[in-house]
Symmetry: C2
Subunit: 354 residues, 2 copies
């Protein structure tokens, strides 16, 4: 039973998880969008399998080692949504991956294109990454044609364009970010066509923005966090409390001077805290109880006056701010149906950064 | 060679590491302080062994699973500087640990004392945790006697008091935090003596404050970060650039729109960023080049105008903000002497949170 799992522990409610997976699949299907969920969130094969069984066309990953983990688990269609720089070692890994599954790689520079062509081999399928307003990787949409031409000249196959509208991560931002995404992808597609390159993939999507996707332009979406949701998604209004499928279970270890301190700190919850979030996560079952201070193994809760202080030794559930980093800190997820532990899922791509 | 290690990778300069270990050992010895370094920083046996060979009296850890890792590796004297709540499962683990090594546990409440006595067995040695100004765990020093009496009544053995002067982590704070620590430990020792409890351990110390320790009061120190140092220690003035022993090696993956983006993000560097630090880490070999935006696999560098932009594919070294969380994200450390990779050390206690 759940009380026997040592804290801190990452616990997944399987009913909520499966409902979240089904809802997104239904949304994508009704909207005419291909769904290629980002697996960096869960890094688990049982979650990926449920997504693929539910109609996802393949998975998105961020690194070659994530791709290797999911290819080994059985995934046959992977998009590495990242501008991989293929030195000879990464080139050899890409060649091995291409023999196991359909593979697409992101590119946003001529240098990366040339390294891919040299070391990963001709015929590799790529998507040009463009910047739709997040200002991270990705070229200006008007330069998509130039990058695409360099790729075709080098012997790669340009399948499409992609963007991550990460500026959706801010209060009031998701709708506008989705509009930016649609406009930028349309511009990039035109830029490629003007360069003589026909594409069939226009890929976007983040969990906050996906509901607002311009399906007249975009034809593939890559949300990740929606399977579990977290405090960031709650704050952005992209999920309700009932849609949270993952919690960090913790124990109250101290009440000295009235401070409630949990054994879940930054090494269990992650330390992500955008300035529009109050605290480093919050309690799931007590309203208005944020974690206001975080060290590696301590989470200090600002306990609300409307609720009696918990005793030392009490069990609590924490909603982390950013579920992707919390999962990456765990070796396994404890799966519950109600209060019964029904399974343990290994985080197969934990730490898969390279 | 180093160029063959896939990025992002955690790389340790063994010469600097060994110098840092020797310097702290010399300081402790000259000052008459017992050194019990915190192993949560490195989580590696080859580092711990060097500390113990250099005169450390034992190791400090934060969790039972860290204690189990280091006991299995060969450490014979461990202090868990944390108010462990010993449910029956943790009690059984504590009993097993006591058979392998000398063990001390932190306590800061009667509830935790009673759980330890019930489940971990009589005669367990404890240190009372007090708050010296960090306001996390630990009782008011004047309450040390009350906690100590409850421990002795329950059949535990009170060996001393300890505190973590974590408020040393702020510009201009280390000296004052060390003074607070000395005063608080002296008060707590008096409170215990007034309750009829004689103690022999007064334990404090953090890397920023340890140089200012009041050796008239404190007799044991537990710094951790000093073995590697990091951007926080640099900002606090507790080390120089030449004392940084650990770097995250990264590759430039994008230069779109002039932004320099590395493949080291929050899943490699950690996301710790106190408000007195500019950025999420900085480049080791380029001055004034902080990481100003961080996602899971992207670090965006604000590149200084005095330096030519690096090419896509270039290798760089990043100094992380907080080395403890960066190490906990890695499965192994790559050890270099100059530019030769001479060893790989497994992070045996990575993820050891329970």
């Amino acid at each position: 039973v759940l009380d026997d799992v040592p804290t801190p522990a990452v616990v997944v409610d399987i009913a909520v998880l499966e409902r979240n997976i089904a809802s997104m699949a239904t949304f994508a299907s009704n909207t005419g969008l291909l769904l290629r969920p980002h697996a960096k969130t869960h890094k688990c094969w049982p979650v990926a399998r449920r997504q693929l069984d539910g109609g996802a066309v393949g998975l998105t990953v961020a690194t070659l080692s994530e791709a290797e983990s999911f290819a080994a688990a059985g995934c046959r269609d992977l998009f590495v949504a990242y501008p991989i720089y293929a030195d000879p070692a990464r080139g050899a890994r890409l060649r091995a991956l291409r023999e196991r599954c359909a593979l697409r790689i992101g590119v946003d520079s001529t240098d990366a294109v040339e390294a891919l062509a040299r070391n990963a081999g001709a015929g590799l399928e790529v998507l040009v990454e463009i910047d739709s307003g997040h200002h991270r990787t990705g070229v200006d949409p008007l330069l998509a044609g130039a990058v695409g031409m360099s790729a075709e000249r080098a012997g790669l196959v340009v399948r499409g364009v992609f963007t991550f509208p990460g500026h959706s991560y801010g209060p009031g931002m998701p709708t506008g970010a989705a509009q930016d995404e649609g406009r930028a992808l349309a511009l990039a597609a035109t830029s490629l066509r003007d360069s003589g390159i026909e594409i069939d993939v226009l890929s976007g999507g983040s969990t906050p923005s996906v509901a607002h996707t311009d399906a007249g332009v975009v034809n593939e979406v890559r949300p990740g966090v929606y399977v579990f949701n977290d405090a960031q998604q709650l704050a952005l209004g992209s999920c309700a409390s009932a849609d949270i499928a993952l919690f960090v279970h913790a124990t109250v270890v101290s009440r000295a001077s009235g401070r409630v301190v949990l054994d879940a700190g930054s090494k269990a919850l992650g330390a992500d805290r955008p300035d529009w979030i109050l605290g480093f996560g919050h309690l799931a079952d007590v309203s208005d109880a944020p974690i206001v201070a975080l060290s590696e193994h301590h989470g200090t809760v600002e306990w609300p006056s409307h609720s009696a202080l918990p005793s030392v030794g009490a069990a609590v559930r924490v909603v982390p701010n950013h579920v992707c980093t919390a999962v990456n800190l765990a070796d396994e997820l404890h799966v519950v149906a109600g209060s019964d532990v029904v399974d343990r899922w290994r985080v197969i791509a934990r730490g898969a950064n390279t």
